[in-house]
Symmetry: C2
Subunit: 245 residues, 2 copies
């Protein structure tokens, strides 16, 4: 296994950071590495808001469900899917632009994620830690308003970056044979595989909690799907001009 | 700049591959590296179909708009957003599961992209080349049917992997100041920045074509938005149980 693969396989979310600040030049280097990820038809359908204003950091920490590390980390970024720049460019070049398609929602969300993951890998290669913040989608309209996001731009997730002040274990993943399938989708062993992974996760939670946390993967997933998590997303996205048709 | 960042910044799509095959053990290692990417609430909302059947490779090459390297590369993967496994697991654990939300479409698409980008980085760290295939969304229903994808699973993109038999230049990206914004979304210089990038791309196309290809970024974007690219996506996704509400 080479050093890069080892780096990828040692990822874990960091939620506690030292006081040390990331030099701005390094931050730019990480973003440039992000931009080198593949992008659908070269559209580059993303913008990144570097939130430096402490009041806005605090406000977003609360809007994301009380995640204090959003305010405390060295740098907090909001990765936005952005169809505005490219559709404007095409329009100025004379195109009669069609906006608001579900295809564009997929393109922009995927472009943004590919880009962010390169930023994450680059950051970890420099000894930084990070965690993605999906919680900004708890209140995406308020976050958008704080960051003054225009139509055709939506906040997909945030990312806390900084120098780690904790060293958590790598969290187990489903066995490769559960998710990699030859030629056809195969779910004949799904229940058995999930049950095996439930045992793995049960052991992981018990060990980390000194035996106090007796749960597993399936149990942890329950609250995510029982209520309609973030039921505002369809309306919010359509209001921003995404997924209208 | 460290070696990992250098690797990230040297990415370019590879569409011509040698005959050399990727060992299956290495392919599994790449997938495991992919799985170590961050995942929303540990959902791991993806499956990967390893298409080995030559007839299906050929069929997908055609369905994706005539991309022969889908049939020719060492390994072709289809990355699928998968809400089936996790919602089934929650249901078996006793949850009254809500499916079909737009939030789940975002979660699963993002999870899949983060995972795939780690696979891409891992592959390039081993000297492999790759290109993403968004073209499978040209005919997603036919691709889904070939791969027997059930409800709550949709094919986001493909990936061709193999040993490079070409050495293209790195394609320029927007300058970092166009996409990284401090505190607020700023588009007051958008037109100027795009115009500068149009010049960069014009030079890139002219150099690569010996002066014959006189175009730029904005011009290249025009056909993407003029017609409604992949207008079937909303209906297709809803048919698969994504983005219904």
């Amino acid at each position: 296994m080479n050093a890069t693969i080892e780096l990828l396989q040692s990822h874990r979310s960091i939620r506690k950071f030292t006081e040390q600040k990331i030099p701005l030049e390094l931050l730019h280097e990480l973003i440039r590495a992000g931009q080198c990820a593949a992008t659908s038809n070269h559209v580059q359908a993303y913008s990144v808001i570097h939130v430096t204003n402490p009041e806005n950091r605090q406000a977003i920490a609360e809007l994301a469900g009380g995640q204090a590390y959003i305010a405390d980390c060295s740098d907090f970024l909001v990765f936005c899917a952005d169809m505005k720049r490219s559709t404007n460019a095409a329009e100025r070049a004379g195109a009669e632009v069609v906006r608001g398609t579900t295809e564009q929602l997929v393109v922009a969300s995927v472009d943004t994620a590919l880009m962010a993951q390169n930023v994450a890998v680059a950051a970890e290669s420099e000894g930084l830690g990070l965690c993605y913040i999906g919680g900004i989608r708890n209140n995406p309209a308020e976050v958008s308003s704080l960051l003054r996001l225009p139509e055709d731009v939506y906040p997909v997730f945030g990312m806390c970056l900084g120098y780690p002040d904790q060293n958590p274990e790598v969290k187990p993943r489903l066995p490769v044979e559960s998710i990699l399938m030859e030629d056809y989708y195969r779910d004949d062993q799904e229940e058995e595989q999930v049950s095996g992974f439930d045992s793995t996760m049960n052991e992981y939670y018990r060990e980390r909690s000194g035996g106090n946390k007796d749960t597993n993967w399936s149990e942890q997933l329950k609250p995510l799907f029982t209520t309609k998590l973030r039921p505002h997303m369809q309306g919010f996205l359509q209001g921003k001009g995404f997924g209208l048709k």
